[in-house]
Symmetry: C2
Subunit: 151 residues, 2 copies
Amino acid sequence: MSKEIERKFLVVNQSYKSIATSCDHIVQGYLSRNVDATVRVRLRNDKSFLTVKGRNHGIERDEWEYAIPLDDARSMLQRLVDGPVIDKQRYIVPYSGKVWEVDEFSSPDAGLVVAEVELSSVDEEFDIPPFIGEEVTGDPRYYNSMLGVKK
Amino acid sequence: MSKEIERKFLVVNQSYKSIATSCDHIVQGYLSRNVDATVRVRLRNDKSFLTVKGRNHGIERDEWEYAIPLDDARSMLQRLVDGPVIDKQRYIVPYSGKVWEVDEFSSPDAGLVVAEVELSSVDEEFDIPPFIGEEVTGDPRYYNSMLGVKK
């Protein structure tokens, strides 16, 4: 188990692109959107993963991730996924000693761009890059598991 | 992915015990009871597994199973499981060329005993052992994922 401590922000310009060190194609869906135990299937380029996450406690969350065969992940995405499949590009963006992940969604919320930074403690301080806008940490509207789900 | 084709029966006497070749202690719980994508965490003696199952189609069901570290499984059972944790003894019982699994539940439905046989096709014929009673294949009351869940 790892402990995930993350803060999430909206993105206001594309300045992350010029400093990004990589860009991955991610396709993912949810076997469970239960907030107490989210279960996600993800393709990331040519790898795939099954990930279990617990409930958010503030900005902390338990996470367990397992590599699984690509064919298994594709079958689950086709056959089992509850709700929309998410398709996004993830840019890895180093900035002032931290690594940001910037997700550009093409489905279901085409045009949405969100940035996350992983912290080592809940009160860790960090510099805000110039592409960062409003903070949306803990806002369920921006949970990947809730995107495109009918309310 | 494997395809699970199983028939399930109630058990009417203990004659399975004298022909059982092994008995395992199983503790399991569910991260998702969604009938379209059940996600189960199981400890089986000193091993543990994360298992995803699709919706039943008649007596067939898709299944994907991954071995996971024991500590991960224990944490998920303690922290994430939705509803009761199931505790049972599983006897492996060969009979007339087929292998039966007989589950004696100690929690949540103490005293319930159910037997399953895995088939290679939906219309495969097989001999009925003397401990077998009423067939309950497809009856949601006997889904492990539904035991002890408030209706």
